[in-house]
Subunit: 128 residues, 2 copies
DNA sequence: CTCACAACTGGAGCGCGCTCCAGGTCAAGT
DNA sequence: ACTTGACCTGGAGCGCGCTCCAGTTGTGAG
């Protein structure tokens, strides 16, 4: 039995976050991930905090935030907790939230057209 | 006063469909748009039917259907109305509809996380 | 110690969906 | 007739977000 590690290997982090190994490395390169610890030989070790942050990134990615905005958000996270900083993070997320709401509304409305189309074909098919 | 035209110029079609001129030309090139009429000098003329089809394409694009699938759908549309053909169109749209439903669900659930984050920052900000 | 496998780096490449460009033609108001 | 602006074509280019590669080094089970 192996001892439970405090940290995760890249493969484990990929598995748990749902990002590929290459994406994790890419995110570190572009500054979305910073301060990832390294084992003696240079291999990355992901902490639970890192994983939590990856969860945030997953949320933002899944909702279609552009990487440039995620970088901005990440950089704010590194820059302390001044009221101005917090206000900007709130603004960033609220703007994004509004965009997501709009996207949901668009999908829902276009989905209605889809349903109409499907119903139409069903009817045509029924008549044969 | 100009006579009301039965057809639309490319610029008008772009305006009404919301696709750019380049996109309209691109869609024709790749076979998403076929049988677009031409005026004497080679300029395109879009009919109301063309516009209706562009509306369908807009619906599919807005809901994230890949162009390959739209091409398949377009080609089915050109291939008659046999029961098999209709069945395949229904299947295509239903699969897509399921994907859209999933996407909406994902957006909605990730949006909750967004709201939690925002609430958290608001609280932090309130404490200062 | 060995051997297989995981991870490392820097950089190139890719798939998608357009978008832009050059060099020319067409249309329409004056 | 002239001019201006819309449109034409084929093909190159682009922005995004990864993804893959080559060549090397680290890790851990047996």
């Amino acid at each position: 039995m192996t001892t439970t590690p405090q940290t995760l290997t890249p493969a484990e982090a990929a598995e748990r976050s749902g990002f590929s190994l290459d994406t994790l490395r890419y995110y570190e390169r572009i500054g979305l991930l910073t301060g990832i610890a390294r084992a003696a030989g240079g291999h990355r070790r992901f902490t639970d905090d890192d994983l939590a942050w990856l969860g945030v990134l997953r949320c933002l990615r899944d909702t279609g935030m552009p990487i440039a905005d995620m970088r901005r958000y990440a950089s704010l996270g590194r820059a302390g907790n001044s009221p101005e900083n917090l206000a900007e993070r709130i603004q960033l997320l609220e703007r994004h939230d509004a965009a997501v709401a709009e996207q949901i509304a668009l999908l829902r409305s276009q989905r209605q057209h889809l349903h109409e189309k499907i119903a139409f074909y069903r009817k045509e098919l029924g008549q044969k």
